[in-house]
């Protein structure tokens, strides 16, 4: 029986489990990983796993995918020669910029020139180096100097390429904002670091009702329920 081990039947369960596991796992699986799929009292030997892998490797010869060893692990991957076709899978779905990226770009476009600190202040959260780097790499944003304050932070504005991409003749063609308030007021707020006093007086007692609408009034339930609760209490009390 021992010498029979390394030779597996064409569709042995062991081989099938190893195969399914390699496809289901997100990372390459080591022989140790593969062993641990089995309960302790039914664990295959390293040789058995090895034989299954070998068998799989040869079965996928000439197919669209291949079994590869990476480091100590094994995984299936598409064959390199089919890459030109596979690239088109994602073509229909171009990647999208993150919210953070779009907001950063928007702030630079509408409020240029700005420093990273300005952007962070407006967004209320930090701006990662990656975001700035991507925008610079894309050629939509450039550094145009430094603000003359302590630390001399870099100032950014948008480029001609940015205008060209969005088909704009000038920044004045950027879509206007649908303001609820005076644009000048908003602009002032965003451009300036408002001293605390100003902010306080401006904001005190201004309910933001439009932003947070009151709960939907068409809830006819509660009155009805209270009434019924009365009935129920009468009946049982």
């Amino acid at each position: 029986m021992r010498e029979q081990e390394p030779v597996l039947q064409e569709h042995s369960e062991l081989k099938n489990i190893v195969e399914a596991a390699l496809f289901a796992a997100e990372q390459p699986l080591t022989i140790r990983n593969l062993k641990s799929l089995f309960p302790l009292d039914a664990q295959p030997t390293t040789e058995q796993i090895g034989a299954a892998l070998k068998q799989l490797e040869s079965e996928y010869d000439n197919r669209g995918i291949e079994l590869r060893r990476v480091g100590k692990g094994y995984r299936f991957q598409s064959r390199e020669k089919y890459a030109p076709w596979l690239r088109r899978i994602n073509e229909g779905r171009p990647p999208r910029y993150s919210r953070a990226m779009l907001e950063t770009l928007a702030i630079i476009a509408y409020r240029q020139p700005v420093t990273r600190g300005d952007i962070e202040e407006i967004r209320g959260v930090g701006v990662s180096v990656d975001i700035m780097r991507s925008l610079l790499n894309r050629g939509w944003v450039k550094e145009i100097g430094h603000r003359d304050v302590p630390g001399h932070p870099a100032l950014f504005d948008t480029t001609a390429e940015f205008l060209a991409y969005f088909n704009l003749r000038s920044l004045s063609e950027l879509p206007p904002l649908k303001q609820k308030r005076e644009p000048a007021e908003v602009a002032r707020e965003l451009n300036l670091r408002l001293p605390l006093e100003t902010a306080a007086t401006e904001e005190l007692g201004e309910p933001h009702e439009s932003e947070y609408p009151a709960a939907n009034p068409d809830a006819p339930h509660s009155a009805e329920i209270i009434q019924l609760a009365h009935i129920s209490q009468q009946d049982h009390g």
Binding site: A20, F23, A24, I65, R75, F76, Q77, S78, R79, E80, A83, L86, R87, N90, E91, P94, P95, R96, Y97, R99, L102, E103, L105, A106, I107, A109, Y110, I122, R123, G124, R138, Y165, F166, N167, L174, P175, P176, L177, K178, V186, E189, L190, L194, L196, A199, A200, E203, L204, H208, E211, H221, S222, E224, I225, L228, A229, I231, S232, D235, H236
Partner: protein, 240 residues
């Protein structure tokens, strides 16, 4: 009588497991092997109310729908007591609407169980995927519409307004800021008396904020609070 005693914990689990009044009613009906078309309203109402009382006693969040159903049952019960003209076949049984709802709910309750039994991804089946081996990965540049830019800016402004609004109340006495200040104070003095970290002039809010800041710093294990013996002075130092 093997199910006579249910430990209170288990009872709570049972009570919590009802998905509403219809589910509870179906349970009561099923438990006694009653035909759903032949519900003894008086008895079921009584049992239903007992369960509802139990839920109340167990202080479970009793959905209002349970009380509505109690009222409905009471109404059906009283209508059943009213003498009906003999031979009037058109008069609808008072239970008809309820039975209809029970039957309808039961269909979906049962099929939901079957849905749960269907083989599903991540439990019974796993998606078979491989890496895409691409020697020259194509760098697709994301597309952006001009409108998206405007929308993004709009969103930022709205959030900035909201944030600033919060700022006003927070800025005056920020716990975070106070934490920083305390850490700074501890940088210059290795040990500080606990009381010295408070400034009475700030008033009660200031004291509270300082206290919360100290608790926060303790929790983050940035500072250590020491007291050598009961009623001895309390000292604070940085954890490092």
């Amino acid at each position: 009588p093997q199910d006579l005693y249910i430990p209170p914990d288990a009872l709570e689990v049972i009570l919590e497991s009802f998905e509403g009044p219809l589910d509870l009613l179906l349970y009561l009906i099923r438990k006694q092997n009653i035909d759903i078309l032949d519900i003894p309203v008086a008895a079921i109402t009584r049992q239903y109310m007992e369960y509802v009382e139990l839920m109340r006693a167990a202080k479970l969040d009793l959905a209002a729908e349970y009380l509505v159903m109690a009222a409905t049952l009471a109404e059906i019960k009283s209508r059943m007591l009213l003498p009906r003209p003999v031979g009037d076949e058109d008069e609808e049984d008072p239970r008809a609407a309820l039975v209809q709802r029970l039957l309808e709910y039961e269909r979906f309750r049962d099929v939901a169980q079957k849905l749960d039994d269907l083989p599903r991804v991540g439990r019974d089946i796993y998606i078979a995927r491989t890496d895409f081996n691409d020697p020259q990965p194509l760098r697709l540049l994301p597309k952006v519409e001009l409108d998206e830019l405007a929308v993004a800016f709009q969103r930022v402004i709205q959030r900035a307004e909201h944030l600033r609004h919060l700022h006003v109340t927070r800025e005056v006495l920020s716990v975070r800021e106070r934490m920083t200040r305390i850490m700074q104070q501890l940088e210059t003095h290795e040990f500080r008396r606990f009381e010295d970290l408070f400034d009475v002039i700030e008033g009660r809010m200031g004291l509270v904020v300082s206290f919360i800041a100290i608790l926060e710093l303790c929790r983050d294990e940035l500072i250590v609070v020491v007291q050598n013996q009961p009623f001895a002075p309390i000292h604070v130092r940085t954890a490092a």
